[in-house]
């Protein structure tokens, strides 16, 4: 029997405001515990929330980017539950009337296929604090610095059918919020995380199966693993004649499995009601237009432009626009190297550069080889100072901090030999040293041409201009 997976994601993006959503406390990460938890964040008696305009603008920004309806009058509601990291005993969130309504996001799969994933809504809410479980004489420590940090919860439709699609969607949203400058996307610090609603059903049935919610997934890999484990678990349960229990589950990255989170199960009656401390949020067209005017070029637009303007393939354009930083880097190199070289630049950025970055787990923003430096290197290929192959060696030296392209070429003596006389001299020597091969070649063994090229390059330390070597060899042989 074949099973179909159904996945919906709730992405929590911490908005990169300077102050909290309802208070004037700083949102900077990494401060000493509770030093950035002001009276409002602590829920002291008598305190009141006042909404941060920037958080609203950021939510609207996302709404516009996913082509969603912006709710003209949205309402903040209280979600009531007791938990030590929730100081007021309720979370200020949005329930019936979220700021962002229905929208959509197109994702591209590895095979080049595009799928549209529906976004049900996106709403503003406050983040909770953190419980620190290391032992304080058998007690748990509570740090409320994060309490009140603005979150945008982006809820998708159950439109995804595999972990691969879920990851593609999460990556696309991750890229989008960073393009928009509304979230730093730092998943290790928890700035961008998601809950996955997963269910399975028999292929061909309409009705959704019972879903479970896997909480707090803060990496693409965890999302993929968690879904894969959960799907198998649910299929096993169903095929064994059992029933999936609707519950909240936690992914354990060490064991690679999900487990039930019973503590959050009981009393799931959140008693939502409109927050009487906050009036309805009115967003007029002037506000929306102001936000619209501040929108940057979005990934899909940029991708189109890269294809049209630079003649890149859909795949290349899509890879290069997967983050704003990479796209900016690419364009800066192209500017240096000349727009005719866009394809070569693309190969370098996606090849050597990305490879080196991945190897060291670095972001493009802190690449030791700047866009300008890479542009200068590629210009040396252009003007025949070095070959593409030598350029890779130069790049490695630049990466290791040995200076810019010209310095490395100079210091290592890598300048290409383009003097015909000098190349001919080497060729003559090679022919003289290999009479057997010469004879075989001349008697029809064409394949040996490569052997002679190799010998010449070896003798010149790879510095001979390959085109010239080919041409002269043909003549001499």
């Amino acid at each position: 029997m074949e099973w179909e997976t159904v996945i919906g994601l709730e992405i929590h993006a911490q908005l990169s405001t300077r102050s909290k959503i309802f208070s004037g406390a700083s949102t900077a990460y990494g401060a000493e515990p509770n030093t950035q938890a002001c009276a409002v964040d602590l829920g002291l008696p008598g305190v009141l929330p006042v909404l941060n305009e920037k958080a609203v603008a950021m939510a609207v920004k996302l709404g516009l980017a996913i082509d969603a309806q912006i709710t003209p009058r949205s309402v903040f509601a209280r979600k009531n539950y007791f938990y030590p990291d929730l100081p007021k005993g309720y979370q200020i969130s949005q329930y019936e009337l979220p700021v962002v309504g229905r929208g959509h996001l197109d994702i591209e799969l590895d095979d080049g296929e595009t799928r549209t994933i529906g976004v049900t809504r996106a709403h503003l809410e406050e983040d909770a604090g953190k419980s620190l479980h290391e032992d304080f004489h058998g007690m748990t420590g509570i740090d409320l610095n994060r309490a009140g940090t603005p979150l945008l919860e982006i809820v998708s439709e159950p439109d995804m059918r595999s972990s691969r699609e879920a990851v593609a969607y999460m990556k696309k949203m991750h890229s989008l919020v960073r393009y928009l400058g509304i979230c730093d996307g730092n998943m290790q610090e928890g700035s961008f995380r998601c809950d996955a609603n997963v269910s399975v059903r028999r292929k061909g049935t309409e009705k959704f199966g019972t879903r479970t919610e896997i909480k707090n997934l803060n990496s693409f890999r965890f999302l993929e693993k968690a879904i894969e484990f959960e799907v198998e678990r649910q299929i096993d349960v169903l095929e064994g004649g059992g029933a999936v229990v609707q519950e909240t589950r936690l992914f354990d990255p060490d064991k690679g499995e999900t487990r039930s989170m019973r503590s959050k199960e009981e009393a799931n009656d959140y008693r939502y009601f409109p927050d009487p401390d906050l009036l309805p949020l009115d967003i007029d067209s002037t506000f929306i237009e102001q936000v619209r005017a501040s929108l940057p070029e979005l990934p899909d637009e940029k991708k189109q432009r890269f294809m049209n303007h630079y003649g890149l393939s859909a795949y290349d354009a899509s890879t290069l626009t997967s983050s704003r930083e990479m796209a900016d880097y690419f364009e800066a190199v192209v500017e240096q190297a000349g727009s005719g070289q866009a394809k070569m630049v693309a190969n370098w950025v996606m090849g050597e550069l990305s490879g080196a970055l991945n190897r060291e787990g670095r972001e493009i923003g802190d690449s030791p080889v700047s866009a300008r430096a890479l542009g200068a290197l590629l210009a040396r290929i252009q003007d025949n100072t070095i070959s593409g192959k030598i350029a890779k060696e130069v790049f490695e030296a630049m990466w290791a901090g040995e200076g810019d392209a010209d310095m490395v070429i100079e210091a290592k003596g890598l300048k290409q030999i383009t003097d015909t006389g000098a190349i001919e001299q080497v060729i003559d020597q090679v022919i003289a040293d290999n009479p057997k091969q010469l004879e075989q070649y001349r008697s029809g063994k064409d394949k040996l041409f490569g052997f002679f090229v190799g010998q010449v390059m070896k003798q010149t330390g790879g510095k001979a201009n390959p085109a010239q070597v080919n041409e002269l060899l043909k003549k001499k042989l």
């Binding site: 602590l42 008696p45 008598g46 007791f82 007021k88 401390d277």
Partner: protein, 484 residues
């Protein structure tokens, strides 16, 4: 000194007839000798008061005095006062030293008013008799066997007993007006949003409103000039230009159209109260006011709607009292659930627990529409009734409470009967309108309050209408025996 009104004291300070130090010391002495009989103060802040009095005298000497500089006042213990215990009448906050000042407190400090102390109140402002206080009930200065009303019973009693010239209160369903009526003092609940709620411990956020309590309407106007005003820290604070609430003191009531809601004059009102209200109507007629009957068809439902809305909001507002960051924490909690259950179970009194449970129930799955949403719809109908009435009249008049002060313990076992003490005051909170209570006479030796309800933002007129009554009658000048 203590027989003077705030307006008179302000004049005496200005003329140099008395200093703030002398005045403050005088009140502190009275509190020391007389408050044992009333239990109206939870905390007396003598030292800070004297220090503030010296600073006020200094400011006056340097020519920096404002209208109320040097006039000492008391704050209901629901307003946070930095460095001083702010208990809200609850065991839960018995150990809570507020780390900041409420906006109302800060405004009075800036105006140069020394704080005599914090007044007793029903626990978390939930009660109509002051008997739910952790610190024991306040006694009514007119008869110490009787309740002072609530929840601002302590504030009403200190004004009536001349233990402070004025005091702040809060009114969620009548908590300023009902005790004002039962103690023979004047108190006004302003339009929702006039007075900042920052630092005023929330009971029901969409209903709570702070206001002044004093002997006269003029005094209330002077205090309201200090209290009211926009506050950027309160999202529900109204952004309007500051106004002088004393500006209609001398506006005659001739030609004023006063509405009498027929629902306020049916059964349920004591005969003595009815007589006093009739006499007040006659007095206003004598001043040239015109009376019109108005219809508030949904006002009978106000208590029912209120006992959904207020508990619902309170159930959420009081969730923060969990024994983690401040306030009462139970001994040796065995786990997290135990910490919550016992800290809250032991820290809150029975009435607070009842209301939290009613609110929890009304908001819970399956009941939300039938209770909370229904109550919000009735709230709308009640507000619309008032809106129609104010097309016909300038002011609405009626009793503040159905009876005079009842005996201590008389209604404590029956919450519903207790709730009906606020039958005439609650609709005003649901609509967000301003209303005041002023002393209008006595029934069997106990004060009777008259309620005036105004349209939104019409406090100045309300206070003027009350003042016109007070200049022609003696009631607000009368002091209870033993506190003369």
């Amino acid at each position: 000194m203590h027989e003077k009104s705030i307006a008179e004291l302000a004049a005496a300070l200005k003329e140099g007839e008395v200093s703030s130090v002398e005045l403050t010391a005088h009140y502190l002495r009275r509190i020391e000798t007389l408050d044992d009989a009333l239990n109206a103060y939870v905390t007396v802040t003598g030292e800070q008061a004297m220090e503030a009095a010296r600073a006020a005298d200094e400011a006056r000497a340097q020519g920096h005095a404002g209208p109320l500089t040097g006039v000492p006042i008391a704050h209901k213990d629901i307003f946070c006062t930095e460095g001083t215990r702010t208990s809200c009448g609850s065991k839960m906050l018995d150990n809570f030293i507020a780390p900041y000042d409420a906006t109302v407190v800060a405004r009075f400090k800036a105006a140069g008013c020394p704080i005599l102390g914090k007044t007793n109140m029903d626990e978390f402002a939930m009660g109509s008799s002051n008997e739910t206080s952790y610190y024991g009930p306040v006694k009514n200065p007119w008869d110490t066997e009787r309740v002072p009303g609530g929840s601002s019973g302590g504030s009403a009693a200190v004004v009536a007993g001349r233990l402070a010239p004025g005091a702040t209160g809060t009114d969620t369903g009548g908590s300023i007006r009902q005790p004002a009526a039962l103690n023979g003092v004047t108190g006004i609940k302003p339009t929702y949003g006039r007075v900042s709620r920052w630092g005023m411990i929330a009971f029901a956020s969409s209903l709570d409103q702070g206001g002044p309590m004093a002997r006269t309407a003029e005094d209330c106007a002077l205090m309201l000039n200090v209290m009211a005003g926009f506050d950027h820290r309160d999202s529900t604070s109204i952004q309007r230009p500051d106004e002088d609430f004393t500006r209609h003191m001398n506006t005659p009531v001739k030609g004023l159209r006063i509405g009498l809601p027929k629902q306020f004059f049916g059964e349920g009102m004591d005969a003595g109260v009815a007589r006093v209200v009739d006499e007040a109507i006659a007095h206003y007629k004598g001043l040239g006011a015109e009376f019109v009957e108005v219809d508030l068809p949904h006002s009978d439902l106000s208590v029912a709607a209120y006992y959904v809305v207020a508990p619902a909001e309170c159930s959420s507002n009081l969730a923060r009292f969990d024994g983690v960051r401040y306030g009462y924490r139970c001994e040796d909690p065995k786990d997290l659930l135990d910490l919550y259950m016992r800290s809250r179970g032991e820290g809150f009194g029975p009435e607070v627990k009842r209301r939290i449970m009613v609110g929890t129930y009304a908001l819970s799955a399956g009941y939300f529409d039938a209770y909370y949403l229904k109550a919000q719809k009735i709230r709308r109908l009640i507000a619309e009734d008032f809106a129609s009435a104010f097309k016909e009249v300038d002011v609405i008049l009626g009793p503040t409470a159905p009876s005079t002060a009842f005996r201590l313990g008389e209604k404590t076992n029956d919450p519903v009967t207790m709730y009906l003490s606020d039958i005439y005051t609650i609709a005003v909170n649901l609509a967000g309108l301003p209303a005041l209570s002023l002393p209008a006479g006595f029934s069997d030796g106990l004060p009777v309050g008259l309620q005036l309800i105004g349209n939104y933002f019409d406090e100045a007129r309300l206070l003027g209408v009350a003042h016109q009554y007070q200049v022609g009658t003696e009631w607000c000048g009368m002091a209870p025996g033993g506190f003369v």
